[in-house]
């Protein structure tokens, strides 16, 4: 438990940008009862201990009335009396426990989806009740056929069944009826059309049988059918619900907010898309720039990695163009807005992505492909049965209709409707426990076909943050001094220094010169830690230029300058994962927006033969499309903004949870934590799931092939229909459950 907790905490530390306090403020709401409320999305909460840790810590805060963590959705609701500003403290308290938390607006999450799922569940309940009770009555009727139940008693039981079944079908069948009606009105057909026709006809025919005191009524079949189908439908919507929740989470995570400087003084925080071109905005260090613009004042360095894949921060000053999505590292910048929303580079990437996604949107899930042929075939068979019985055999048309309805009931895609959702829910649950979130319902199917894996470099194969290299060759005293100074800075490289030597005390009197470095005045003179040109200013003896990679220089009076070089380290299991993929026969490629020498080095370390460097988003997309045209099914793994279009263009895609929002939105799967091995797990589970789905398809179609002829020759009684239907449904669910039991 503690180990798990620690692991999660480590994950949290890699979150690219923690929510800033003022971000939290914007999400504090005033409740009707006078209390303040805040909703947070908590990462890393996994068990009961997490619940009580978080809730108890919050309840100890004065004024807190309620704190409740929903473990299924990872949402935390806090309500308190007092000041609005307490929100930031409460948020900090949660993060202090080691759970990264992001504020969100619950109103925007009130999607119709949750209500729809509740409605489905209500339908399941009603159908279940009706199915159980009608079945009890039907058992009496069936045994009555064998013994000697009088037509009067049978009629009574049929009437009772009708009384239960008809309202239940009318209520619980709505999801299918509305969907079928919508499809018919649009001139198309879907799986719900045969279901609706079958259920309605079965009920109508049974009612007429009951009125005519006939021996056979199919009320039990109609209701049981609905019950099973609704379960399938509910599972399906749960699987999609997971996906939807994930997407919502990503969209809301760090919803871009911009600090606008009013012309007559003062600042306001507004959403990025509400900023008008021409306004001046303020970007604090550590904040992501929300607009495209030009720097008015301030010098700083920008982390462009999300936009261009470039791992080295770029120095910028007044007059320079900046793009939305870049991260301001050193000091505050005033930026004149040139473009917002639709016009930004960010949106350009978004558009590329949409284009690519439309192309992929044409992918049709296996179940839909099957059902496309299913409905016409079923209806033709039923019609054929009716015609043959009435015209050829010459029975009265009611009997013909009876047999035709039996065909419809038997072929109702009960098992088919359960076969895929059951496997999907179990597979996505299994992946969720491994920290992999499946976002797209068809992701599993597409993953199973993958034969090529394309990786991005920065943040995907590598950790995505600079770490000190050659730590052993740096004198300990210099490192300690530098780390002690670096304590007072939030610069990425300074953080890297502190991470390399965490046990030092912060030094007093350190001044940060924005865009340059840190300055400490001592009795012997100035100590400088920062950019090469600035730190070595006035020092004699130029040191040779190293390779272009992130570095900080330490200049002390009377001692030679010391350099600290940084490098983006590979993920720990990157090599093992790439090897394992290659061993399993996948072609592995590396596509990076970074410079060739850096990319070549990483490719060499990992033994990736196919790599390309310096590729921009358009080129990445083009490359993936070319691979697709060669008939390859590509899994793209990437995290940057520049990867987003490529992620959308690939056959299927995955992102680490540290990726840019837009990439996570584009990706079909998101994996948490430091392990790249999640990709292996993803592929393995997908292949197993695919196998099970196909088995289930074969099972349910095979059952139809056996049962339909029986129905057509009129041998299927309500009893046989009920037995075959239930058993085939249980069979496919049981088969799907095998996926949950397989542990590796």
């Amino acid at each position: 438990m503690n180990a798990a907790l620690a692991g999660r905490t480590a994950d949290g530390a890699t979150l690219p940008q923690p929510t800033r306090p003022d971000d939290v403020q914007a999400f504090v709401r005033h409740q009707p009862d006078g209390a303040w409320a805040l909703d947070l999305m908590v990462e890393g909460a996994h068990c009961g201990a997490c619940i009580s840790r978080i809730e108890r810590t919050l309840r100890r805060h004065p004024g807190v009335q309620a704190a409740r963590l929903n473990l299924s959705t990872r949402r935390l609701h806090v309500a308190w009396q007092g000041a609005q500003e307490d929100g930031a403290a409460l948020h900090a308290a949660v993060e202090g426990l080691g759970y990264p938390a992001v504020a969100f607006d619950p109103e925007r999450l009130e999607a119709d989806g949750a209500a729809g799922q509740q409605d489905l569940l209500r339908c399941v309940g009603v159908a279940g009740f009706a199915a159980a009770n009608v079945m009890i009555l039907s058992i009496a009727v069936w045994s009555g056929h064998a013994l000697d139940m009088g037509p009067g008693t049978r009629g009574l039981l049929h009437w009772l069944s009708a009384l239960i079944a008809l309202p239940a079908v009318a209520y619980a069948g709505r999801p299918f009826f509305t969907s079928a009606w919508r499809a018919l009105r649009a001139g198309t057909t879907n799986m719900d059309v045969p279901i609706s026709v079958g259920v309605t006809l079965a009920c109508a025919m049974s009612l007429s049988e009951t009125i005519r005191h006939g021996p056979y009524a199919y009320f039990d079949s109609a209701v049981t059918l609905l019950f099973f189908l609704l379960i399938g439908r509910y599972l399906d919507s749960r699987a999609r619900g997971h996906a939807r929740a994930a997407i919502e989470r990503l969209m809301l995570l760090r919803a871009a907010r911009v600090t606008v400087l009013e012309p007559h003084g003062g600042q306001t925080v507004v959403a990025a898309d509400q900023v008008r071109p021409g306004t001046t905005i303020l970007v604090a260090p550590g904040e992501r720039i929300g607009v495209d613009g030009r720097i008015v004042s301030g010098t700083s360095s920008l982390d462009n990695s999300l936009v261009s894949g470039e791992s080295l921060p770029a120095a910028v000053g007044p007059g320079d163009r900046v793009h939305a999505g870049t991260l301001n590292l050193d000091s505050a910048l005033r930026i004149e807005t040139l473009a917002v929303g639709e016009a930004t580079l960010l949106s350009e990437i978004g558009r590329l992505m949409e284009l690519a996604e439309q192309r992929r949107g044409r992918y049709v899930a296996l179940a839909d492909r099957v059902s496309r042929y299913y409905a016409p075939v079923v209806h033709l068979l039923a019609l054929l049965t009716f015609l043959v019985w009435t015209l050829q055999v010459g029975v009265i048309w009611q009997i013909g209709l009876l047999h035709a309805v039996a065909v419809l009931i038997i072929t109702c895609p009960c098992a088919l409707g359960l076969a895929v959702p059951a496997v999907q829910v179990i597979a996505s649950g299994r992946l969720l426990r491994q920290g992999v979130l499946l976002k797209s319902p068809t992701a599993l199917e597409r993953l199973a076909a993958v034969d090529t894996v394309v990786f991005d470099k920065t943040g995907t194969l590598t950790v995505g943050r600079p770490e000190l290299v050659d730590r052993d060759r740096v004198p300990q005293a210099a490192l300690e001094l530098a780390a002690a100074m670096a304590m007072s800075s939030k610069h990425v490289l300074a953080r890297g220094l502190v991470a390399a030597c965490p046990d030092v005390q912060a030094l007093d009197g350190v001044r940060e010169i924005p865009g340059r470095g840190l300055l400490l005045a001592t009795s012997e003179g100035e100590v400088r830690l920062g950019q090469r040109g600035w730190a070595l200013e006035g020092l004699a003896g130029a040191t040779p230029d190293g390779p272009a990679r992130p570095e900080i220089w330490l200049a002390r009076p009377g001692q030679p300058p010391q350099v600290f070089r940084f490098e983006d380290r590979l993920r720990e299991d990157a090599l093992a994962t790439v090897r394992a993929l290659q061993d399993r026969g996948f072609r592995v490629e590396l596509l990076s927006g970074d410079r060739p020498e850096v990319t070549a080095k990483v490719a060499g370390q990992l033994g990736i033969a196919h790599w390309r460097a310096g590729v921009d988003p358009t080129a990445k997309t083009a490359h993936l499309q070319a691979l697709g045209r060669d008939g390859r099914h590509v899994l793209m793994v990437g995290d940057g903004l520049n990867d987003a279009p490529a992620l959308a263009a690939a056959h299927v895609s995955a992102s680490p949870s540290t990726a840019a929002d837009i990439s996570q939105t584009a990706a079909d799967a998101v994996f948490q934590g430091q392990r790249l091995g999640a990709v292996l797990e993803l592929l393995a589970v997908a292949q197993k799931a695919e196998r099970l789905v196909r088995q289930n398809m074969v099972l349910s179609i095979g059952y139809n092939v056996l049962a339909v002829p029986l129905a057509m020759i009129g041998l299927v009684t309500p009893l046989i229909a009920a037995v075959t239907m239930s058993s085939s449904s249980l069979l496919v669910v049981g088969n799907a459950l095998r996926l949950a039991r397989q542990r590796r």
């Binding site: 009961g48 619940i51 009580s52 929903n70 959705t73």
Partner: protein
């Protein structure tokens, strides 16, 4: 056979109670957080407040 005159209404009544209870559970958001509920039952301490108060909005209520 007159026994079924009692048994069937009783069966339907009991079953109906089940459905009503189910819908009540659904309405009062008891299916909101199945995972959390499984853990909460292991809590030794009582919560400081009745669970239905306020927080059951839980973000998606």
């Amino acid at each position: 056979m007159s026994i079924i005159g009692f048994l069937i209404p009783i069966a339907l009544f009991l079953g109906g109670l089940g459905v009503i209870a189910f819908i009540w559970c659904l309405r009062s958001n008891q299916y909101e957080d199945l995972e959390g509920a499984a853990w909460r039952i292991l809590e030794d301490e009582d919560e400081d407040e009745p669970p239905g108060e306020g927080p059951d909005r839980g973000g998606s209520g």
